[in-house]
């Protein structure tokens, strides 16, 4: 089985996904696009944690100044992943694009876990098999890509 990620000699990262993986990651992008559309979404709460604890005014001020930048960055990261999964065969990425994919896949794992009710370690024991498989796959994806990108530090 081909490795999902490979670092090229010129310092880029190549990515090979099979159709099932591409379809699942496309679902994850769609899930992220839905964040914030429903009131009380635990995924939104997890992504938008306050920067100041016990100081709502400072937290809101920080959110006003940084919130848009974070959202723009996340949207750009989703575009990079969307483009990669729409490309057939192996796609070769500049390191900053691989970095974007790392962020967005981690973001998907955070949102999915929050929506599945993961708040503490023991909550994993309550997951249904589908949730376990999805979080495990995303975790492996992150681990593999982190390994490749760590070699460039």
């Amino acid at each position: 089985m081909a490795r999902r990620f490979q670092t090229t000699r010129d310092g880029r990262v190549s990515l090979q996904l099979d159709p099932a993986e591409s379809a699942f990651l496309a679902d994850m992008v769609a899930m992220l696009e839905s964040v914030g559309q429903v009131e009380g979404d635990p995924g939104e709460k997890r992504l938008n944690v306050p920067a100041y604890l016990g100081d709502a005014e400072a937290a809101e001020d920080w959110r006003q100044r940084m919130g848009d930048r974070i959202e723009i960055g996340r949207s750009g990261d989703r575009d990079v992943l969307r483009s990669a999964i729409e490309t057939e065969g192996r796609v070769t990425l500049q390191p900053e694009k691989a970095e974007a994919i790392l962020r967005v896949v981690n973001e998907a794992r955070l949102v999915l876990a929050a929506r599945l009710g993961i708040e503490v370690e023991s909550d994993y024991e309550q997951l249904d098999p589908g949730g376990i498989v999805a979080l495990h796959y995303l975790g492996l994806f992150i681990e593999d890509l982190t390994g490749e990108l760590s070699r460039m530090l």
């Binding site: 992504l47 944690v49 920067a51 100044r65 940084m66 930048r69 794992r109 993961i118 982190t146």
Partner: protein, 94 residues
């Protein structure tokens, strides 16, 4: 003989308070993996693998770790970067 009651100069306290450095704290969460957090600390702060691992394990075992400090503007920008990577980070004064 009774000593005069100390006079507290609130202006001095205010200035001292303002000068206290700020720090960015990363909190433990059950989803971000240890290798990912180590990578983010190395990537964003340029820490050695050893230092990044030490801080990550502190987050994991102690529940939180102050990963950087300095002027408020600096730690606010670092907090923004950590949030962009999905870490649960907050800012506080030391």
């Amino acid at each position: 003989m009774t000593s005069p009651a100390p006079v507290i100069d609130s202006h001095v306290d205010e200035a001292t308070d303002k000068d206290r450095p700020w720090q960015v704290v990363v909190w433990d969460d059950p989803v971000n993996t240890i290798p990912y957090v180590i990578y983010v600390f190395r990537k964003l702060f340029g820490y050695s693998e050893r230092k990044a691992t030490k801080l990550t394990m502190e987050v994991h075992h102690e529940g939180r770790s102050a990963v950087s400090d300095g002027p408020r503007e600096k730690v606010e920008a670092q907090c923004y970067q950590l949030h962009a990577y999905g870490l649960w980070a907050t800012i506080e004064q030391t």
